[in-house]
Symmetry: C2
Subunit: 196 residues, 2 copies
Amino acid sequence: MPRARLTALSVTEAGAALIDEIGFEKLSMGLVAERLGVKTPALYKHVTSQADLAHRIAVRAMAEFADAIRDAIQGRAGSDALAAGAQAMRTYVREHPGQYAAGDAASRPTGPDDPIIPAVERVVASWAAMLRGYHLDSSQEIHALRMLRSALHGFSTLEAAGGFQIDASVDDSFTWMIDFLDRGLHAVTSSSTVAR
Amino acid sequence: MPRARLTALSVTEAGAALIDEIGFEKLSMGLVAERLGVKTPALYKHVTSQADLAHRIAVRAMAEFADAIRDAIQGRAGSDALAAGAQAMRTYVREHPGQYAAGDAASRPTGPDDPIIPAVERVVASWAAMLRGYHLDSSQEIHALRMLRSALHGFSTLEAAGGFQIDASVDDSFTWMIDFLDRGLHAVTSSSTVAR
DNA sequence: ACTAACGGATAACGCCGTTAACCAGTCCTA
DNA sequence: TAGGACTGGTTAACGGCGTTATCCGTTAGT
């Protein structure tokens, strides 16, 4: 009986791969074990619970997501950075719907030393850096950041859930939205009016 | 032993109330039964499964959601309609987070005669009617509609998930976003350029 | 009032997450 | 190199939950 030589990392990676195939909510210890050629209880030598596994997947996902956004924005500015970052995000969610959902579900930290915190911060930092190219008033930065997250997150999750039924190009809609946001951000910058 | 006089509707309503209190994912047949003063198996006389119950809750939720949006937009146009509709949506999601999540999860129809379809269509119809006030080019309507759903859905779900950690007013961010979208939509209308 | 259908209850099954007990392989040390 | 502790698997068993089968009291129709 040779050993499988599992580790917390390998279990997490197997779970991450699986979750993208079957969906976040269908993740089960049995399926992960089966994929690793191991009986279910063996997993508990490396992971304390299913919630723990889901959290580890979430942390890993958020870190990779942060990398993708950072790499996409790297070396670009303004409209180009927005377009590249947004496309990178959409690509990530499409290729890793389960992991994105896991990261989403775990975005509430469990404690002050939760490793998800720096990962989330890196994502936010990338978006903030990107927005800096629009030279917004500092009082509006937070609002713009939240709007951006909302629009991109909303679009990605709606697309992943099959929410766009009408057969108009979803790609076109996405670029249209990015363009819309870009113009709006430029407009906010140029006219420093606070409005209404 | 008096009867509880349950019905598919009363079970659905009990589930809907419960789901807002404990969250979509924690819904269980046992809790619904307990709330109705009944043993779990009794529910199966009115509902075929937990998935069926969740779906019924989703349909009910989507219908009420559609009503809320329609009522809010009613009698308004343009910027006013947008602001009113968006606020109505946010209010609904805040007051009924579980039901909104249920509606969200069931937005994929199970068949051609799924009652969720007309409910979803009513929601979309309201947003489309609202957008008509901006007199967009017909080729851009779908894109604008999708963007709006994305932004509003994304904001609402992120807020419901506690995704906005920084202590800046979430209310302000929301009105800022609505204002941003409103201006952008006006800009799209006035300059009929298709861009890039 | 009698009877059939309805709508509850109790009992039991199966799946899944989890824990306990056990045992084989691995590695450090004498 | 032999022994022993630790590591990382296995099998067995428990508990909770969704679900089904069976049974029985209530209700409604003739």
